[in-house]
């Protein structure tokens, strides 16, 4: 029997539930406090598998919503947009009724690299042509072309950008460009322009541990490159599951 409690509890927690990604991230980090253990050597040029982010102790303070403890140095253009933004996570947290976070408001794709701040695992699938990254959050997919092609001459702007990759020794270097301006760099409301250029360096340090060095460059938004390093653990027993952002949007409707 569906009791009236169902409506009561769902309504009463809708705002909390929907806007509590930070909390989920904190849980993720709290549960992932173990230091990486030495494992077997990494297979050569192979990132295949399901991975989950592991925050370092220092990162637990901020990784729920942004990449570094220190804020990036913003241009006046980006600073004005940042100050006008109303994030739902991080130190400037707003209620869902108020937030204009594009992910929370309308389920827009999070963008690159913000997708890593959505606290769910990802999977690499490799083919001779490309490395496919399947992010659990809202079925987000990136195709990293590794067949030697360059970026298109006139890239169509997209949420996740156009990605090409090549191996530099043991590191897969992924270059992403061609962004629209509909996404934020993080959950704190830091901004980017269509000139955003992201380089990710994926290094599988051993079988079970992956290190990703990320550099964000954007001459219109960032005074200097914003650099971070993320860490992931292999989760061989996990599968990528379904997670539809539209479920969250349904909650949001009730708030209006």
């Amino acid at each position: 029997m569906r009791s009236h409690i169902k409506g009561w509890i769902l309504a009463g927690t809708a705002v909390l539930a929907f806007s509590s990604g930070l909390r989920a991230q904190m849980e993720q980090q709290a549960g992932a406090a173990k230091a990486p253990s030495a494992s077997a050597p990494a297979p050569v040029h192979d990132l295949s598998g399901v991975w989950n982010m592991r925050a370092t102790p220092a990162q637990r303070k901020f990784l729920g919503s942004t990449y570094t403890l220190e804020a990036p140095e913003m241009t006046p253009w980006a600073k004005a947009k940042y100050e006008a933004a109303k994030p739902s996570n991080g130190p400037r947290s707003n209620a869902l009724k108020v937030t204009d976070d594009p992910v929370l408001r309308t389920c827009l794709p999070p963008g690159t690299p913000r997708i890593y701040l959505q606290p769910f695992p990802l999977q690499f699938v490799q083919t001779p042509k490309e490395v496919i990254i399947l992010y659990e959050y809202d079925h987000t997919v990136r195709h990293v072309f590794t067949d030697g092609r360059p970026h298109p001459a006139d890239i169509t702007p997209t949420y996740m950008g156009h990605s090409i990759g090549k191996w530099d020794g043991d590191t897969l270097v992924v270059d992403t460009a061609g962004f629209n301006e509909k996404t934020w760099l993080d959950r704190d409301g830091h901004q980017h322009s269509d000139q955003l250029h992201v380089v990710e360096r994926f290094l599988r340090v051993d079988r079970d541990n992956l290190q990703v060095d990320i550099t964000m460059e954007d001459p219109k938004a960032l005074v200097k490159p914003w650099i971070t390093q993320l860490h992931f653990q292999l989760k061989p027993e996990w599968d990528i599951m379904e997670l539809a952002c539209t479920d969250n949007a349904a909650f949001e409707d009730f708030e209006k």
């Binding site: 569906r2 409506g7 309504a11 909390l16 989950n52 996990w238």
Partner: protein, 128 residues
């Protein structure tokens, strides 16, 4: 599916009319993480849904007052990886939950610990 959704909407609209104050709540700021409350009682509803799993209980906290409590966990995916299923908790089950209370004093809890009537503790760590 559609009728279920419509019923869901109707319930929500009904609730909003009666208790719109609940919608002032927001995120972690709503909870007082410096305090812990423990509630024991009977489950009235269990929703294994996105974005977060919800438990409703008719329960008593340390004060002994019987109230309708609402508890929030993490996402179904995370709890699945920690061993939960949609049947891990059922209406009528006796449960003891502990977690952070709402700052407002309303009977809401961000659940950190779940102990079944059998004494078995369910992980709330999200599967990490």
């Amino acid at each position: 599916m559609k009728s279920k959704r419509m019923a869901f909407f109707a319930l929500m609209v009904g609730f909003m009319t009666l208790a719109s104050v609940a919608f002032a709540h927001h995120g972690t700021a709503n909870y007082d993480t410096s305090k812990t409350v423990t509630v024991k009682g009977a489950v009235s509803d269990f929703q294994f849904i996105n974005p977060h799993v919800l438990i409703a209980m008719d329960g008593k906290d340390e004060s002994g007052k019987l109230q309708k409590w609402q508890g929030e966990l993490t996402s179904p995916n995370r709890l699945s990886r920690a061993g939960w299923t949609k049947s891990s908790v059922k209406p009528g089950d006796t449960l003891t939950i502990s977690g952070y209370p709402a700052k407002s004093g309303s009977p809401e809890i961000w659940i950190q610990k779940v102990v079944l009537g059998s004494g078995e503790e369910l992980s709330t760590g999200g599967g990490n």
